[in-house]
Every structure is written in C-alpha cells, then in structure tokens.
C-alpha cells in the first residue's frame, strides 16, 4: 500500500437533497401511505355508490365497530414488529371479559374487577413472552398452544353461560355523548385514541421502541449491539397483553355481555388489519398508524358493502378480493414513494 492519500473529507456527493416530505407522509410514515390510499378509495367508492354511507352517523358507527378489533390489532402490531405473531390475542381478551364480568357480577366492585381482568391479560402475555424468550419457541407455536388452552379454559370457566355486566365502570367505554350536538362519540373512542398515541409515542420516540424494531429487523444484530433482546421481547408480550386487557374493556363497552364464544376470528382479523396496514410479517417494518388505517379499511369494507346491499356471502367474496387489492395498492404506492 504505497499510496497514502489524505485529501480531506470534503463531501463530494452529488447532493440531490431529498424533497421536503409532505405533512401527511410525515404523520403516517411511508409505510402507511398504502393503507391510507386504500381507505380513501374505499370511502370514495362507497360514498358515490350508496346514499347511506357518507354521513356523520355512519362515520361514528364505523369507528365504534373498529374499536375492539382495532385495539386487538394494536397489540398484535407490537408482536408482529418483532417478527412474531399472536394467535391467542382474541382468546386472551375473551378470557379477560369473562373474568371481569363474572367478578363484577358478584364479588367485586367494577373498577377492581376491571383491574383484575386487565392484570390477568397482562400476566398471560407475560407467560407467552417467557415461553418465547426463555425456551426460544416460535411465537406461532406458543400462541397457538395458548389459544387452545385459553379457549377451553374460557369455556370451562363460563360453563356454558355468558355474563352480563351493568356496572358503570365496566360499560363506561360504551357510553355515548355528542360532540357539537352532532357527532356521536363513545368513551371507548377516547381510550382508543390515548392508546394509539401512547403506543405510537413508545414505538417512535423512545429507545424502547427502537429496540423493538431492531429486534424484529435482525435479532442477532440487535443482540450484538448490546440490546437486551430477551427483555425487549418479553416487554412486548407483556405490553400486548395489557392492550388486550383494554380490548376486553372495549368489548364490554360495546356488548355488555361476556361470552366465551365471542371473537373466534379476532386473531385472524387483527393480523389482517396489521398486514394491510403495511407491517411486515417478517418484522422490523411498519407501525401503529398503518394498523389503525388497516383496521379501518376492513371495517369500512364490511360496513360499506352492507350499505351497498350486498349479502354477507357475496360480501365475503368481495372482502377477500378487496383485502388483496388493498395490499396490492400499498405495494404500488410504496414503490412510487421509494
């Protein structure tokens, strides 16, 4: 190596500076541009083809219908970001509703029953997380096992009954009020917004969030850079469990009755929302805004197709096709953006 060259590090790159990102792109991130486009298209189509879709009442209804699966999808997002998957989330939530409702019916004041239920969900998340991190089992298998166990446990616990709730705290999220005397809102919407903003903040503004993405992107690299990958993973499952607990509360707000048979497709529905929202099943890419949009897309499809007078079997056909189309749109938009 005879040549030593010490020309100073003057930056010499052909400097095409990136054009300022649009406010929208900054808010939702690039990953969410696709589902946003899909949502906008769906809304426009339904607004044009039906008379009953595009009005404030139906808007409120859609948001209400979004709440439970949307909340499940928030927890699911955390887990999928780490390249995991949670098949048990709906089962955890359902067990939560059962415990809350049963305790609230008889023994405990509503608030305390709620607390116990949410803690139970969090604890189950901790168990799944421990199995994933300590035994290094695939999340698919762990949560499949937990799903099987919890579904049966819920049914044994309920013993063929379902439990109605009436207490103020337990149905608090279902309570309606009117904004500007016009827009029907429920307390659940408020809680959802707090949860969405909180999780978004954690994922994007804190180093915990960076660690979550890093673990999902390349777990070994994350480990080598000194990230406590186990603790990060475990915390993700625990936090997701907590979110499912909140989903249980939301579910009771919407249906003041805890039924062991409810939400049997909640796991797939929430995964669908997450994936439509642009989060990669291989981890490390995506986020909360996309999931919210993804869950809204699915809700809008069901709602709008019904308004359009399409029967549920044909709706199912249409939904299947539209889910594929929504993700295809996402691909195209993202390729454009890149």
């Amino acid at each position: 190596m005879t040549t030593t060259h010490t020309s100073p590090a003057t930056p010499e790159a052909p400097a095409t500076r990136p054009p300022a990102k649009s406010l929208l792109a900054r808010l939702v991130g690039n990953a969410a541009a696709g589902p946003l486009a899909a949502l906008v298209i769906a809304v426009i189509v339904f607004a044009l083809t039906t008379d009953t879709f595009f009005n404030i009442d139906n808007g409120s209804l859609i948001v209400e219908q979004f709440l439970v699966v949307g909340t499940l999808a928030l927890g699911q997002t955390l887990i999928i970001l780490t390249a995991g998957i949670d098949l048990a989330n709906a089962a955890i939530m359902v067990l939560g509703t059962l415990v809350i409702a049963k305790l609230g019916q008889h023994s405990l004041p509503g608030g305390l029953a709620l607390l116990v239920g949410v803690l139970l969900c969090t604890a189950i998340g901790a168990v799944s997380g421990t199995l994933v991190t300590r035994l290094r089992l695939p999340p698919f298998i762990v949560t499949l096992g937990v799903l099987s166990v919890l579904t049966a446990t819920g049914q044994l616990f309920a013993n063929g009954e379902s439990f109605g709730v009436s207490s103020g705290v337990l149905t608090f999220l279902g309570k309606r009020s009117y904004l500007f005397g016009q827009i029907e809102v429920t307390n659940g919407m408020g809680v959802a917004i707090v949860l969405i903003v909180g999780l978004w903040f954690l994922l994007t503004q804190t180093s915990w969030g960076r660690n979550v993405y890093a673990v999902g992107d390349d777990e070994e690299a994350a480990r080598l850079t000194g990230i406590n990958t186990r603790r990060t993973l475990l915390s993700v499952y625990v936090l997701a469990g907590f979110v499912y607990g909140i989903a249980a509360w939301q579910a009771l707000g919407r249906i003041p009755n805890a039924d062991p048979n409810a939400f049997q497709t909640g796991n797939l529905d929430s995964i669908t929302a997450v994936v439509i929202g642009g989060t990669s099943l291989f981890g490390g890419r995506g986020g909360i805004p996309g999931t919210v949009l993804g869950a809204l897309v699915v809700t809008v499809l069901t709602n709008g197709l019904t308004q359009a007078g399409i029967d549920s079997l044909y709706q199912q056909v249409a939904t299947g096709i539209l889910v594929i189309v929504a993700v295809a749109v996402d691909r195209v938009v993202r390729r454009r953006a890149a």
Binding site: M1, T2, T3, H5, S7, T10, P11, E12, A13, P14, A15, T16, R17, P18, P19, A20, K21, R26, T204, A338
Partner: protein
C-alpha cells in the same frame, strides 16, 4: 465536472480492436429515489483481459456490475454482448449467456451446505436413467467436486464439508462464492471484491485462479480496493467515481498514486488522455451539507 466522455480517455489504455470487445455498456443510469447509483456510465471489457474496476466506497461499482448481469434493471442505457444489444431480465439470463458473478453480498444460501451452494441452480445429475429420466441429483459427486474445488482455492481449514454455509467463517464463505463462479463461467467472470475477506494465502490462490481463467481465454472483471493486487494482475483499470467511469488506464503506464488521484477526483483525465490536477474538485451543484439531515425533525 465538465469532462469529455471517457471513451476518448481510454486512448490512455492500450486500445485493442473493437472486434475484441466482449461486453460493453453505454449511458447506464440507475437511481434509487434521490440517490444516484449509476450516472451515465460506460463500460467495456475485451477478450482475454483482466479488467480491474476501482473507485471509492459508494462510487457505484457494485451497482454497475449488477446492471451488467441483470441483477438490477438500469433506468437507461444500453448493454451489448459480443456486439449485439441484450436485455437481461435477471441474473438467470446472464448465467445462461455464460456470465458468472461473485456478488459483493456473496449470494449464498445460509442454511444449505457447501456443496449445495456451489451447485445452486447448476445441478449435477446422476448418470443413466436416474439422472435423465428421474432427474435425480448426484449428491455424492457434488460433494466430492466441492471439496476438490475448495482445496484448489487453498481453503484448507474447512473441517466439515457438510457444514452449513451460514456457519462458515467470513473468508470460507467468500471462497465458496468464488469457487462457484470459477467453476461455471465460460464467457465472462465478474468478481466484486472477491478477496476482501480472504487471508494472505487464500488471496494469492484467487489471484492465481484469475490468471488461469484469463489464460483459458475467459475475460475477468475484478472489483478491488487492493491497489497492489490490482496493479499486479490487471491488464486495464477502469476508474469509477460518483457513479460514472472517469478514466480507463493501463497499470503499465500509470502509477498507483495517479489512479488513487483519479478515484478521489484529485486528478482528472483530459480529452487527450493526459492527467491534469483537478481545478474544479467540487461539483457545481454540490452543497457542503449534502449528507447532513434535512432540517425538519422526524
């Protein structure tokens, strides 16, 4: 950088007959969003030569050879093989044309063993009906040949030929990729930093291998940051800078310092093939803060 097209500049390097050109490209462009990886670059390799491609990190060398082998589709520009224009739709087409490549990322399958990786997409079938009728693979022969091939590269420390490539050491893994290209290339072999992770002895073997390949009549494109290596083995040197070819020089008429000067922009090649101190080292449209972050937060 008001500079003449570099075809003129190649007068500096010995100019073989154009009939000898094996592969050439002109006006190649590749952009990724705002990033320009290839910026109107030209390229030419002649029969029976070792052409070294040198340039700074990020100059666009890997992107250039990816464009040549169909691994990426350029936004603009034409590529010719043996004088006829071609459009590779993927690395598969290049391979079918007899072009083998060692990519910088190696392109190995980490969960497969060494022999399988060597013969990926180029299976050895059994003899007789088992091979032609049932299309059965000859696992044993592939293993034996793989072991021989690595021996020849001097990779003597592989303890278990059935080891998965993902568990190999960095140098061992690179040797697998080099061995693969050497085994199958018939028309042109392209190697993107093939000795970066190799030891002293192993690097030497690869250089010997490249010489042997050239002597066999197959031209070799060698991307390398190792100037002594380049000057030892190359017949011509293609200097790449800021996404384009800025000069083609001969290692016999040019010093290492000059080549490094060309790479970094301290020297420029004039239209007549002479080297000049660069007066406009900075490009006109350049901003001093080019790779500072945009001001806006997040």
């Amino acid at each position: 950088m008001n500079q003449p097209r570099s075809d003129a500049a190649s007068a500096q390097a010995p100019a073989p007959h154009t009939a000898d050109v094996v592969m050439s490209a002109s006006g190649l462009v590749k952009r990724y969003g705002n990033v320009v990886a290839i910026s109107e670059s030209d390229f030419e390799i002649h029969a029976g030569e070792v052409l070294a491609v040198v340039g700074d990190n990020g100059a666009g060398k890997s992107s250039l050879i990816k464009a040549l082998t169909g691994a990426l589709v350029p936004d603009a520009g034409t590529i010719e093989l043996d004088g006829r224009q071609i459009h590779f739709h993927g690395p598969r087409d290049a391979r079918a044309a007899g072009i083998e490549t060692v990519y910088q990322t190696l392109a190995v399958a980490p969960q497969m063993d060494i022999a399988t990786n060597l013969f990926l997409g180029r299976p050895l079938r059994r003899e007789g009906f088992l091979g032609s009728g049932l299309r059965m693979l000859d696992h044993k022969k592939m293993r034996t040949q793989a072991a021989e091939q690595l021996d020849r590269l001097g990779i003597a420390t592989i303890q278990d030929i059935t080891q998965l490539v993902g568990t190999l050491s960095g140098g061992q893994r690179q040797a697998v990729a080099v061995a693969r290209a050497a085994m199958f290339g018939t028309r042109l072999i392209i190697m993107d930093e093939p000795t970066a992770a190799l030891g002293v002895r192993e690097s030497r073997q690869v250089l010997d291998l490249i010489t042997r390949i050239r002597d066999r009549g197959v031209p070799v494109v060698l991307i390398s940051h190792d100037m002594p290596q380049v000057f030892e083995i190359a017949d011509r040197i293609h200097v790449h800078r800021l996404g384009r070819r800025v000069a083609v020089v001969s290692p016999r008429t040019c010093t290492m310092t000059e080549v490094v000067g060309l790479m970094t922009g301290a020297l420029q090649m004039g239209a007549d093939g002479t080297l000049l101190e660069s007066t406009t080292q900075h490009m006109p449209d350049e901003k001093a803060t080019s790779h500072r972050p945009p001001e806006s937060p997040e």
